[in-house]
Symmetry: D2
């Protein structure tokens, strides 16, 4: 697992093509901004992939050469083919890292890994968010201080219907009165998963330096520690068995 | 959630029809033995359902009147229709309890709730199993003592590919040299899930008094504490919002 | 564990004797208000105990007849004798429930059970608190709705230095901008522990109907499921041992 | 946290001085063997400390220059001064790693961090142990394969009275019929703790290559990610507070 962390930044890339306001913020798509930042970080190499490419840009070969996949989707979750979702799922269980951003809480791959509805309360009112770091020793929060603020966001509020995170690292405070578990870590199979709440198509969240720092930290944290294919072997005994059961 | 716990005991019910040896052990199917025992317990009412019934015996109406579903499947996991699996899944997330027995580790519903492969090592050699109670205060282990033994079993060994259980209550020792996390508790949505390792089509495991006690305890433990439908509401602010964002 | 839950409501009971403002709110002590409410609930019997009684009111006999202990302390944590703390600790590990209220985050018994500093940020500014229910299916949140509000409170903010809770059930939002894990569940030994943030000597928090409901629910949830004394037995083998080691 | 990991290998060092049989196995003490191995690993520097040194060899200065402390004690747990235990405890919560070996389950520092009795079943019969790796992706199990065996050991069996580990990585199978959670990870404060079962004064466990590999891996895993002193600050509001409470 030495060498560069090979990241594939995936984006639905629909809002940016159709919506003038979004295009102003992300002329080349959100993926371009995220990938641009990551590509400047030491020890990280980046490619991008989007929904409308063949196989959504996630061929077997691309995934075999991806250590960490970041995911942003919103209006077209249902257009992601089950076959590709299964392929990503298999790869995460083998050890690939997955970072789900903002509205990716409702993506097929996130729901498949969590096993729950992943629902929440929400509101688009441009309110302020303050994100508290409750695990200052965790690699994902390195360098972000006690909290950071985003001036205008879409709100996500509890109850967030997820399995209890293995580690909860960030909790959000919203101007309008809600709270949210905004940074959540899980391990599934041999892979690591990080859900990170910030991110939106019209608010320029992915230009925020702290948001980008968290994503970069998460790339390093979710990078594979092992890649191991799934099996379910029939095995020989390691000790002599004297019991024999009912049927010879 | 007062009144009886209404259990539906589900069984694939194929081995018992086709295999003479299995038929000898479970002439009316495993479900009949489990349901028979449960129906004698105070505060529990029981029905059964099997794969070859219409909708696998799990109509909307049956599920709406089921508090806890127990599941045994083995050779025909793939024949369980996705639509019915989705229906069970939705009901578990709303609060219904689910108890997965033995080879149900590979059932569609268990894998869908766990999000992992749920694979393991295995061996059919009729060996002895000793199941250790590591949580004597847990309702599921009530009355079973420090450990119990099964003289002849199919072995399941680690690594069991599951999310870290919310609570691990039983660990198995096998004569042939393996160990296994044999009693595992999770919460998903509002529902509780218990995986219990013992159970097999030819070894008469479901006649064992302690196995039946654990299943009975698990029925009480997984019984719903709430039933609540899933939603993802857009909500009004609870505090005045002064920030307004970029787009008026 | 049938019959009534026998609760001992413990209070430091110093502020109420010395401070005129506190006396106005709690003329007979906070314990009197909490105990008064609990004693009206079905299936709960209550006694109280305070710091200045002999053995802090927590003799061996009292503890042997206590199923759940609630704890409030603030200015005199250090005056609680280590010998009594050890006695409570032993009893919790045997199965007694413990509910730590507000400033009890710094009590000797809570820190001894957690193993951490249990520190936090704080402010006394009379601000508003909104407490979000993130586990609507948990017995402790039964009947409290999606959230409840307290108009004027002392603020506690993250990072709260505790072990990751087995289950986090409540998260607070504060007017001044912080968040806090306000309802936390742990199991230690055979006992259950609940930390509940609300409560203060001058704000009349313990008269709030929802606060009292949570405490009542927590009494039922922490009630012992087993009482079992600690041992560390040398045991005989259950299987024949052929290996013999180096030294005969 | 770059540079070498600075390890202090602590040993009670009493058996080795008094008991002829132990002296044969560990003429210079167990700490010498463990430290000898660690000192040959890249990026690790080692010192040792023992009970009978002044301040048990753990002065403020030594601890300030220790990233990871390994602990072995058995017959003299009670002779470790509370003041030194408090010092270690404080340092772990600040971020220092701690590795507790075998009979250190009953050490003051381990019990203080766990908050439980840490009791278990045990037997000295020289039996075989097989330790299963249930988390092949975890840094601590790197390179050890699916399992490893120790031909002659003292047995530790469940129930091990510990808080549910944040991550359970190893489970033991014993010839005599028991099982044990042999590799357990926790985080407390900013520090990481690993409990590792193998190790004994007469069986030459600390010469075993896989045992030494696990300890080496654990040194790297518990190495501090942050060092941060404890505080409990009174803080100013981040948002304007309009509520004012009862007392102006």
């Amino acid at each position: 697992m030495s060498g560069s962390v090979r990241v594939t930044v995936w984006n639905e890339f629909r809002h940016e093509k159709k919506d003038k306001e979004v295009k102003k913020v992300y002329p080349d798509g959100m993926h371009a901004v995220i990938a641009g930042h990551l590509s400047e970080q030491e020890g990280i190499t980046v490619r991008t992939a989007t929904l409308d490419e063949p196989e959504h840009g996630l061929t077997d070969e691309v995934l075999a050469n991806t250590d960490v996949l970041t995911w942003w989707g919103h209006v077209a979750h249902d257009e992601v083919k089950d076959e590709i979702v299964d392929r990503i799922h298999r790869r995460v269980l083998e050890g690939m890292g997955l970072i789900c951003l903002h509205s990716a809480h409702f993506s097929k791959i996130f729901k498949k890994l969590m096993g729950t509805n992943c629902s929440l309360r929400w509101r688009e009112a441009g309110e302020k968010e303050r994100i508290w770091n409750i695990e200052p020793g965790h690699p994902i929060t390195k360098g972000i201080g006690d909290y950071f603020e985003l001036p205008n966001v879409e709100m996500y509020g509890e109850r967030f219907d997820i399995p209890t995170p293995d580690k909860l690292v960030l909790i959000s405070w919203f101007e309008g009165g809600e709270v949210f578990r905004s940074g959540c870590c899980w391990e599934r199979g041999h892979g690591r998963i990080f859900y990170f709440r910030p991110g939106h198509e019209t608010f320029p969240i992915f230009y925020d330096a702290t948001v980008l720092k968290v994503i970069t930290n998460a790339v390093r944290w979710t990078a594979p520690r092992i890649i191991k294919a799934h099996d379910c072997p029939s095995v020989k005994p390691l000790e002599e068995i004297k019991s024999k059961g009912l049927y010879p």
